[in-house]
Symmetry: C2
Subunit: 142 residues, 2 copies
């Protein structure tokens, strides 16, 4: 599962192209949703990759520092989750029941940020929004 794109990308960012980094990046791309370090670790094990959990954390740290990955903490539990930084502004819709997460494209907050900036005299540069509810499947079960 060697990936030429990754090789080029890593070179551009000035980091070495190792098997572990390559695979970690592929998994993040495949998932395309915030995942825990643990999950990445397990997927790598599954794929018969020799890797340790601390390496996963170190790789993610490097990816974050190079702007390739974003780290966040979801509100419920206190585990960090990681996802590819594809520079796309987006939010997530999360099911209270099954914890499924789906991407919401578009953002309703552009105008609001401007208003808030005037009201508060802050220099507003970002926000974080998660929407919660029950997905169609879980909604029925209730």
């Amino acid at each position: 599962m060697e990936n030429l794109d990754n090789k080029v990308l890593f070179a551009k960012k000035g980091i070495k192209n190792t098997k572990q980094r390559n695979m970690t990046y592929n998994i993040l791309m495949q998932e395309n949703l915030p995942v825990t370090a643990e999950l990445i670790f397990l997927k790598l094990k599954e794929a018969d990759e020799k890797i340790s959990l601390s390496t996963v954390y170190r790789i993610l740290e490097v990816f974050i520092s190079k702007g390739l990955v974003i780290k966040r903490n979801l509100s419920e539990d206190n585990m960090a989750v990681f996802e590819i930084n594809n520079m796309e502004h987006k939010h997530h819709l999360i099911c209270y029941c099954c914890k499924k997460m789906q991407v919401i494209k578009g953002c309703p907050l552009g105008a609001y940020e401007k208003i808030l900036q005037e009201q508060t005299d802050y220099d507003i540069s970002g926000h974080r929004l998660e929407i919660y509810g029950y997905c169609p499947d879980c909604k029925e079960k209730k």
Copy 2:
């Protein structure tokens, strides 16, 4: 710093009125912003209260289960923060630089949630929003 209101409140919720709970509740009221368990612990120590950190966590747990307190995790670091649940829908504006937090009253998402509900067929019941930027003081320093 005995507080009669707390006594009545605790009685109504069916929990015992101890010095530690009383003081913890007072601190949360005074702060009126999300704080860590550690900070509550330190404030109690400062006030010469004999308390252990695990008791703080246990008290917060009880308060949460009775609906008196809300727990959340902020995006940056992985420590939980706790605040009084005054049933008011609100969000926070957080300074990237000095980490100061201020309450934003009002919410721009009411209409958006309805639209999203139709689009996604989810049963939407809540959201979580934090706005980030630089406060007037830190803005100048830059």
